[in-house]
């Protein structure tokens, strides 16, 4: 029993706690508790009114039982009763019970809030603090509703006691965090900032937490706090160790307040005011200087408090990232800590250095500590410290030290803790790729990775090595050789078999000249692993085998025999069985030509964000990836065809427009982005391809549907921008070249849109432009969608819309500028507002310029804005029509064309086109039911032009006669021109 039991001893409670502690078993404890619960229940229900002391005692017992981990479903009412007791301890226990066992019973909440309200207005500071603590502890929405407006008043009132202010500040902070919408900014906010000047250090300490939180949300409103914080900090930092009396902690003046002040400053950029900034820099220098002074005490509390301030100051220096001198000093200080005997300091130094490594000013300084960090990775006894060391090595890695760091990380992997292996593997894979100078080193590293930690090598990692080998023909021979050697190990990881199968299936021919790795040797080596592998790997191997048949006809008989055996062709797994059957059949019936076409070498993968990086990002390890590497998000779903708002005809258009259907797209499961290089895959450069007779094969689209080779299917996300050095074209100034003349097919493209408003306007290998438009009266709005079909960013992307010649005065087109960067696979949108001033004949021009891989692209199209877009359909009866027809009888008002049908003469298609034209299609007007008659009014700003149309098809002759009569002759001519192309 403790020697002292201060305050109110509750004997019954002490006895009960002793009883519980003496229980020998869990059952005994539960029995004792149940007995007590029954006792308390009977007391609460009993007829005899309980005195305050008993109530308090029983409520306290219930609380104890709850804290032991048992459920409590009664006693709340008694606790609420205690809140209104005049005796402080009873009230206190009541509040404690409510704080711990809050129950959202609405009736109770009302009573609780009532009691709190009474205490808040009691003007007794002790009671007020109790009430505020309760609100801060519970922090529910109901309480915020009841008190969010009251507490700011208490906080800034002149006569509020210091202790109450402290509680009120933190209470308000809690309410602001739970219900920011209920805490309204107001007059009090400016007065809160001035609490930073308060004489009472405790008030400042409490208020600053509130100010920091408010500043994060409303930086402008609170920005005066910066200079106040700096002067407060300066006073603390320069004070002697005894000046602050009880706020000095082990000879360190106000460490908590100092840390909070430095933290608040991290919500803002460096002060603009030179004097304030100078004072702050002085503070930071003093803090760094103090770190070098001999300690004033040997106690760990002294050094912890001092270093807490130091680390917070370093965080601020890193946050500003603008004072090279301070950054380097910070780095040197952390360097000292790296070898400190305190594990805590080594840990924090490694962690803090990680962020310093990403600053350009201190990156080099951080690198000088590489040996110490490597040593930490090897010798630290605490896994969490080793983890920090690994993070720092990753952060400090660049081209100059990549080989050393990767080698160290690989060797650490052999003994690394299981918990961090996967992340280590990802980091090694990323570094190896990012800093690969020669790709043989990269291949070696990844294969080593699989050898050492195969279980932790995720799919992304082995997919990636294959992508890179496929895309780089200078490493293919080396990769085949290395993987062949690696497979010779008696026990090799299944991931190695996957990589081996894939690479030998593609590039086994490159090493087949050596009798030690002849085709049959390769095959036997792969097949010796077959039976130990899982179904997906076996499926992959089967595909590798069929590729072998193509690469090496001499293996055909052996492989066919393998495919034919029962364990393949009758395999219980459907996938394996199907492959065996299909491959066997394919190899026996297809000619070598067909075989060579079907089993052609994989085309290069489109360059995309590294899937490994994405994975690491997901893992979100600290310091896992520096932000800049990850800036390339939003890569997918950019292309227009995937857009949900396209019309069905747009889809059809897009399909028919696709200039080079990528043979691999569907097969590979790569979201329809065409490969950047559609050049025929280079055949092996080291050795003569045995099947050179196959020649550069035609796209093998025909066989794709069969689902053959599905598992040679590659990862959907691929390559990264990291390897494409210098492709991120930095010149952001728009290209200055003159707009190119309109494309030769510009008129043709324009014609496609005469009778429709949405679709794909233009598409080539790089770019796709889609259009959506709508018109009302003489106004129109057009949405242009520019889709980057490549995986490489378009730089300096700009578009200009111009109205050449007369059009300038006829049409008003306004466009907003577009983003200058279009990420690979991304799509950007541009809105044009169009106003028709008067009738017009020409089309506005759209010029697009951008840099793709350094080369300037410049193309000009005609925007499909045609006069008919401003049609309002007009319904009228037969009689009216002919009456008007006759009124428009002047020769120049009529335009007529007789032309041969360009398309089929299907009635429905013609009707659809006429409706698309924007006029009303009138039934039962023309005496000849074969003819089509339309009426409409063109809306321009200046006038309305009435138009009548008659289209007479002659099916026999496959001819049309088109007649237009309009109140304005230029309109008749233009419409006639436009429409003649449509039918």
């Amino acid at each position: 029993m403790p020697a002292v039991s201060k305050g109110d001893g509750m004997r019954g409670l002490a006895v009960f706690i002793s009883d519980i502690r003496n229980c020998k078993s869990k059952e005994a404890e539960i029995k004792r508790i149940n007995k007590e619960l029954a006792n308390i229940r009977s007391k609460f229900k009993g007829d005899k009114a309980l005195d305050g002391y008993s109530k308090k005692k029983y409520v306290c017992k219930l609380l104890f039982i709850f804290l032991l981990g048992h459920d409590i479903d009664f006693g709340h009412m008694e606790a609420v009763n205690l809140l209104s007791s005049n005796k402080y301890t009873e009230k206190q226990i009541g509040y404690l019970f409510i704080s711990v066992l809050v129950n959202s019973n609405s009736e109770l909440i009302r009573l609780i809030n009532n009691a709190i309200k009474n205490d808040l207005s009691s003007r007794n500071p002790t009671f007020m603090c109790l009430a505020l603590h309760c609100i801060a502890n519970v922090g529910s929405r109901e309480m915020a509703e009841a008190f969010a407006s009251e507490i700011p008043r208490i906080l800034v009132a002149g006569d509020t006691m210091d202790s109450v202010k402290q509680s009120a500040a933190l209470c308000l902070l809690r309410l602001y965090k739970t219900s920011p919408d209920l805490v309204l900014m107001g007059e009090w906010t400016s007065r809160v900032v001035h609490l930073l000047n308060d004489q009472h250090m405790g008030v400042v300490t409490a208020a600053i937490s509130l100010i920091t939180c408010l500043s994060q949300k409303n930086p402008d409103e609170f920005k005066t706090c910066v200079s106040l914080a700096v002067s407060r900090l300066s006073r603390i930092v320069s004070s002697a160790s005894t000046d602050l009396q009880d706020y000095t902690y082990y000879f360190v003046p106000a460490p908590w307040l100092s840390c909070k002040l430095l933290r608040l400053l991290q919500c803002y950029p460096p002060p603009e005011d030179g004097a304030v900034k100078g004072r702050l820099v002085e503070c930071l220098e003093t803090i760094l200087n103090k770190a070098q002074e001999p300690p004033k005490s040997k106690k760990v509390q002294h050094s912890n408090a001092k270093n807490a301030i130091l680390f917070e100051a370093i965080s601020l220096i890193i946050h500003y990232d603008s004072e090279p001198n301070l950054l380097v000093r910070a780095c040197n200080q952390l360097g000292q800590f790296l070898q400190h005997r305190e594990t805590n300091l080594r840990y924090l130094a490694l962690e803090s250095m990680c962020t310093l490594a990403s600053s350009e000013f201190s990156h080099e300084a951080v690198k000088t500590h590489i040996e110490t960090v490597i040593n930490a990775l090897k010798t630290e006894r605490d896994v969490s410290v080793r983890q920090r060391a690994a993070d720092l090595l990753y952060a400090m890695c660049d081209r100059s030290n990549a080989k050393q760091i990767v080698a160290e990380m690989l060797s650490y992997l052999e003994t690394a803790d299981y918990s961090i292996r996967e992340e280590m593997v990802l980091k090694v894979a990323i570094l190896a790729e990012k800093y690969a100078v020669d790709y043989s080193w990269y291949v070696d590293t990844i294969l080593n990775l699989i050898r050492i930690a195969g279980d932790y090598v995720s799919e992304e990692v082995w997919y990636r090595v294959i992508q890179i080998v496929i895309n780089r023909d200078d490493v293919q021979g080396y990769a085949a050789k290395t993987v062949f050697e690696a497979l010779q190990a008696p026990a090799c990881h299944e991931n190695m078999v996957k990589v081996g199968g894939y690479i030998l299936g593609e590039f086994g021919n490159l090493i087949a000249g050596d009798p030690r790795s002849s085709p049959l040797v390769q095959f036997n080596l792969l097949h010796s692993k077959f039976h130990l592998c899982s179904v997906p790997t076996r499926a992959l191997l089967l595909s590798a085998y069929i590729k072998f048949i193509n690469l090496f006809p001499e293996t055909k008989a052996t492989i066919q025999e393998v495919l034919r055996c029962d364990s393949q062709i009758r395999n219980s797994d459907v996938e394996l069985q199907q492959r065996a059957v299909e491959y066997l059949k394919l190899s026996s019936i297809a000619s070598t030509d067909v075989l060579a076409t079907v089993l052609e070498e994989m085309p290069p993968f489109p360059e995309r964000e590294s899937s490994i990086l994405a994975k690491l990002k997901k893992k979100k390890g600290p310091g896992a990836v520096s932000v800049t590497e990850l800036e390339d998000g939003k890569r997918e779903g950019g292309e227009l065809n995937g857009g949900s708002d396209r019309g069905p005809d747009a889809a059809a258009m897009a399909a028919s427009n696709a200039s080079t259907p990528s043979p691999s797209a569907d097969l590979l499961g790569i979201r329809s982005t065409a490969p950047v290089n559609t050049a025929p895959p280079s055949t092996g450069s080291l050795l003569v391809d045995v099947f050179s007779e196959a020649g550069p094969a035609a796209p093998s689209a025909a066989v794709n549907d069969d689902g053959f080779l599905r598992d040679l299917e590659q990862p959907t996300e691929t390559s990264d921008p990291l390897l494409v050095e210098g492709s991120g074209d930095s010149d952001s100034a728009p290209p200055s070249e003159d707009p190119a003349p309109p494309l030769s097919e510009a008129d043709e493209l324009l014609e496609k849109f005469v009778c429709k408003n949405n679709g794909v306007l233009f598409e080539n290998q790089l770019l796709q432009i889609g259009i959506k438009s709508e018109y009302r009266q003489n106004l129109g709005r057009m949405y242009l969608f520019y889709g980057n079909k490549t995986s490489v960013q378009f730089a300096s992307f700009s578009t200009t819309v111009s109205c050449p010649g007369e059009l300038q005065s006829e049409l008003n087109v306004q466009s907003k500028p577009v983003e200058p960067l279009v990420e690979g696979g991304a799509q950007i949108q541009q809105v044009l507002n169009i106003e028709c001033l008067t009738d017009f004949s020409d089309a506005p021009l759209l010029n697009i310029k951008f840099r793709y891989g350094g080369a300037l692209q410049n193309l000009t199209l005609k925007l499909p804005v045609t006069i008919n877009k401003f049609f309002q359909p007009t319904e009228m009866a037969s009689q009216d029509f002919f009456q008007r027809w006759k009124q428009l009888s002047q020769p120049q008002q009529e335009a007529q064309k007789i032309f041969k049908a360009n398309h089929g003469m299907d009635t429905e298609v013609i009707k659809a086109k006429l409706l698309g034209l924007g006029m009303a299609l009138l039934d039962n007007v023309d005496p000849n039911p074969e003819n089509y008659v339309c009426a409409g009014v063109i809306q321009t700003k200046g006038q309305q032009v009435g138009c009548l149309l008659r289209l007479e098809p002659n099916a026999q002759a496959q001819m049309y006669r088109l007649t237009l009569r309009c109140s304005k002759d230029s309109v008749s001519r233009r419409l006639c021109e436009l429409l003649a192309q449509q039918f």
């Binding site: 001893g9 502690r21 301890t89 206190q92 402290q166 706020y247 908590w256 805590n344 605490d382």
Partner: protein, 170 residues
């Protein structure tokens, strides 16, 4: 901002729990179980900080008792370590050479002291004198009433264990 503070014994018994974020009882129990296990498994010379979920755990052992705090990513580990120490000092001063038993038998006092020191997960008052003054004032408020009661407060406990060793004495 501190998210929660847990005090538990070497045997894994939870002695005090303070939550500054709303969590369900189930979640609290799960977190407690997980952290007690993790922290108890660590060796004495290991560092006092560890990453856990997206929080940082700062812990320190005093005699038979572990003090364990969860703070957010941008919070300062070292100053949190000293928050723990200051709390132990406050308990020590109040109880007079505090031991685990004091906290078991006077758990409500341990909560009151904590509320004076930390509120809503932030330091409210770091002066030892001021915190103790607040607590003692409150004690005075009922000193007279409960004077009688205090005479009966001492209950003898058999089997004294490590729980009775002062937190500062190890």
């Amino acid at each position: 901002m501190m998210q929660f503070m847990l005090l538990f014994s070497r045997q894994g018994k939870l002695r005090l729990q303070k939550w500054y974020v709303p969590l369900s009882d189930k979640e609290k129990k799960k977190i407690t179980r997980e952290l007690v296990q993790t922290v108890l498994a660590r060796k004495p010379k290991m560092c006092s900080f560890l990453e856990w979920r997206d929080l940082k755990i700062v812990y320190k052992r005093y005699a038979s008792l572990y003090f364990c705090c969860a703070i957010e990513d941008q919070d300062n580990e070292l100053i949190t370590l000293e928050i723990i120490h200051r709390y132990v000092e406050l308990l020590d001063k109040y109880f007079g050479s505090v031991c685990e038993l004091d906290i078991i038998f006077n758990f409500e006092k341990a909560y009151f002291i904590l509320d004076e020191f930390l509120l809503g997960g932030e330091a409210q008052e770091t002066s030892k004198k001021n915190v103790l003054k607040a607590i003692e004032q409150a004690d005075l408020l009922q000193e007279n009433i409960d004077f009688q009661m205090r005479l009966f407060a001492g209950v003898m406990i058999p089997n004294m264990t490590s729980e009775s060793s002062g937190l500062f004495q190890s």
